[in-house]
């Protein structure tokens, strides 16, 4: 149990540094540290599927962010924050904190699944009948691709749409900058 607290403190420190530092590159690296801490936590909580996905996406995202960061000439943040934005973010954080206290008070203890509290939850049916009904030994694959196939289709659609949008926007921006260069 102490491992989780150590990881939690590590992630908190990294997150605070990521927000507070002036250097964009160190901020990006601290975001990566938060992700690695989360991935180790998932691994220790016996969720290897999530741990693999988390670490792999974190590494690739870090590469993208670092490339996008060091390509800019200006890597230091200058200027103060706006007063209105500061007030709004503090109010929103306070509301989320109040809601979080209520929600976290009702959760089961750390490390035990929430559905063990609820009798007849859908997940218990999945665990009991998943292997026989879908034939997949990995119960996570059985749930996300068979029982919850619609969710995965939605995810794939979101990814497809966002990547089409990003490609179109970035390429038109590229073309414009090329045209400006030619003139």
């Amino acid at each position: 149990m102490a491992v989780f607290y150590i990881l939690l403190v590590f992630m908190l420190i990294a997150a605070i540094i990521a927000v507070e530092t002036d250097d964009l590159l160190s901020s990006v690296i601290c975001v990566g540290a938060v992700g690695v801490g989360g991935s180790i936590m998932f691994l220790l909580l016996r969720a290897p599927d999530i741990a693999i996905t988390q670490i792999v996406v974190e590494v690739l995202g870090l590469i993208i962010l670092i490339r996008a960061t060091i390509a800019r000439d200006l890597t230091f943040i200058t200027g103060d924050r706006e007063f209105f934005g500061l007030v709004v973010s503090i109010v929103i954080m306070f509301v989320i904190f109040l809601a979080g206290v209520r929600v976290l008070g009702n959760l089961s203890p750390f490390g035990t699944p929430v559905f063990s509290k609820v009798l007849g939850a859908a997940s218990q049916t999945y665990i009991a009948e998943g292997l026989q009904k879908t034939g997949a030994a990995n119960i996570v694959a059985a749930i996300i691709l068979d029982y919850r196939g619609y969710d995965t289709l939605g995810e794939a659609t979101v990814l497809f749409t966002s990547i089409v949008g990003a490609t179109v926007m970035l390429r038109s921006k590229c073309r414009k900058s090329l045209e400006d260069k030619c003139q």
Binding site: R67, G135, A137, N138, I144, D146, G149
Partner: protein
């Protein structure tokens, strides 16, 4: 950008094969071991990103061009939708119905074997293709854009 030093190039020319095979392994055994289409696809994309970082963008684009990556992306998405539609058109007429498992594999005790679970391996392959191609596409487009951005704006520092 012409790539990195000869040490990085030599090491990455060996390692990229292992990373690629590991991604294929994660995708193909997604219904038996932890992992699956999404994680495996990201690992496939990572092997191409390693290629791009070590050897430069032109070399990676020669291996998998922008057009080919977008076509693979569309093929993956269409394959996933087609697997879902097969369950709707044949058999129990419900979207994502596990046709292959229910009709051919259910009474053959195929648990823990590679050929099992019906449509789940097919879905894993489709998602792996889609995610790998699309993430590589994002990095390729970003690197093209960043290069032009760097060249077109006069740098302030020296």
């Amino acid at each position: 950008m012409k790539g990195m030093t000869i040490i990085v190039k030599t090491v990455s020319s060996w390692v990229k094969v292992l990373i690629f095979l590991f991604g294929i392994n994660i995708i193909l055994f997604g219904h038996l071991t932890p992992g699956g289409g999404f994680a495996g696809g990201v690992i496939l994309a990572a092997s191409y990103v390693l290629l791009m970082l070590a050897f430069g963008r032109d070399f990676a684009e020669k291996n998998l061009s922008l057009t080919a990556a977008s076509q693979l992306d569309c093929v993956g998405a269409l394959m996933f939708a087609a697997v879902a539609l097969v369950g709707l058109l044949y058999g129990a007429a419900s979207f994502f119905w596990n046709l292959i498992h229910q009709q051919y594999l259910a009474d053959k005790a195929t648990e823990f074997k590679l050929v099992s679970a019906g449509i789940i391996p097919l879905c894993n392959i489709a998602i792996g293709l889609k995610v790998g191609a699309s993430l590589f596409l994002v990095i390729l487009t970003l690197s093209i854009c960043c290069k032009d951005f760097k060249h077109s704006t006069p740098s302030t520092k020296e």
